[in-house]
């Protein structure tokens, strides 16, 4: 039986830092996907994910069992992404080809084309909308979970997702007609 995230956190706090390796294994891929969508740069995404894990380890004493560890870690990650994006101004300067390449794992030509198309469309979303779309559809979070992570109200998040979808529709229509 696999230990839960809370059990692993307790082990780390009890003086076994190696238990943190299991948490890294469990959450690294998911965190990297979120960071890649938000920053659209695989190098930056790797750095930010590393920073987020290190930060989570340093502040593990602040983690409470009543929260999901994944959500707590995602909150740290999103904040790190915002900081990095504002520092590098890359949140909006998205490179669609690099973004699509980062997303591609064993994808066929058709899938690659679709992802490149999606990446190109996401390039034109404002950072808040991109964040909302990523958390909602990539992480499949509820609006309440998104609100807890981003600090934004549920109704505002729903509006962001709706507007992002409408914007994507317009953009994809333009690409089709072009």
């Amino acid at each position: 039986m696999h230990p839960s995230d809370s059990d692993l956190v307790r082990q780390v706090l009890a003086g076994n830092p190696e238990a943190f390796a299991l948490l890294v294994d469990r959450h690294h891929a998911r965190c990297l996907r979120v960071a890649t969508h938000l920053l659209a740069c695989s190098d930056d995404a790797e750095d930010v994910v590393q920073d987020a894990f290190v930060r989570a380890y340093r502040h593990l004493g602040n983690y409470h069992d009543r929260d999901k560890f994944g959500a707590w870690l995602t909150r740290i990650l999103v904040n790190q992404c915002r900081t990095r994006a504002s520092k590098n101004a890359r949140y909006v300067a998205l490179d669609p080809e690099a973004h699509a390449a980062g997303l591609t794992v064993d994808a066929g030509d058709d899938a690659f084309e679709r992802r490149a198309e999606l990446a190109r469309a996401m390039q034109h979303l404002v950072p808040e909308q991109r964040e909302a779309i990523t958390l909602r559809f990539s992480e499949e979070l509820s609006y309440e979970e998104m609100a807890s992570i981003t600090g934004v109200g549920v109704s505002a998040l729903k509006m962001r997702v709706q507007r992002a979808c409408a914007r994507l529709r317009t953009l994809l229509t333009e690409y089709t007609s072009a």
Partner: protein, 213 residues
């Protein structure tokens, strides 16, 4: 990608949802460097072990103190309490005044060396002795713990301007219900105020032995 496929995509996105292919693309795993996890753990091992933080018990001030000045109902309550306290004090004073009988009887005069603030002027003008009244203070009553003559006045209205320079005089207990002492009093004093149980009573006029006769 077919045109029909795109039409269904657009329908999906109008109500805040994404077409399946787009959601799949967003959920697809991303390429990761194999050494990424190793680098993270190397950094983690170099850090001091984290510990559960025990939150210190915060001593929070009461709501009244946190709010600073008393407001609204609190202010009204405080005013009411002060009013009641002053009323009780006044009623206590009246009750004490009715319970206690105090007299200050002048039994004679006495010549004493000049002293006090005006002594230098008096000596320079050739006056070496001063005349003072010899007064016997008597207080009678129950439940009396302490008695002293608090001040003497030149006028029965007893305003501050008429207070005679005077050291408070302590009375001596002679029985369960009587306090008495004989002391000197400046000659211009015409009334004295007693303090009984640390509560000031109204001034009483000095009486002369001959007045009684």
């Amino acid at each position: 990608m077919t045109s029909g496929h795109r039409h269904s995509d657009h329908d999906d996105m109008t109500n805040g949802s994404l077409p399946p292919w787009m959601a799949d693309a967003l959920r697809a795993p991303v390429t990761s460097r194999p050494e990424a996890r190793v680098r993270i753990m190397a950094q983690v091992r170099a850090l001091p072990a984290p510990h559960r933080l025990s939150v210190p018990l915060v001593q929070r001030a009461s709501r009244w103190r946190r709010r600073g000045a008393l407001t609204g109902l609190g202010g009204a309550l405080l005013t009411a309490m002060l009013t009641v306290a002053v009323g009780l004090r006044q009623s206590d004073q009246q009750a004490l005044a009715h319970r206690v009988h105090s007299t200050a009887m002048v039994v004679g005069d006495s010549a004493v060396p000049v002293r006090g603030a005006d002594s230098l002027v008096a000596i320079m003008s050739g006056r070496l002795l001063d005349t003072m009244k010899v007064v016997e203070y008597v207080v009678q009553g129950r439940d009396v713990r302490t008695v002293r003559v608090q001040h003497a006045v030149r006028d029965e209205r007893a305003t501050d301007a008429h207070v005679v320079p005077f050291e408070p005089t302590q009375l001596t207990r002679v029985s369960d219900t009587e306090w008495r002492v004989r002391a000197l009093l400046p000659r211009d004093a015409i009334a004295v105020a007693f303090s009984v149980n640390d509560m000031m009573l109204d001034p009483v006029a000095l009486e002369r032995v001959s007045d009684e006769m």
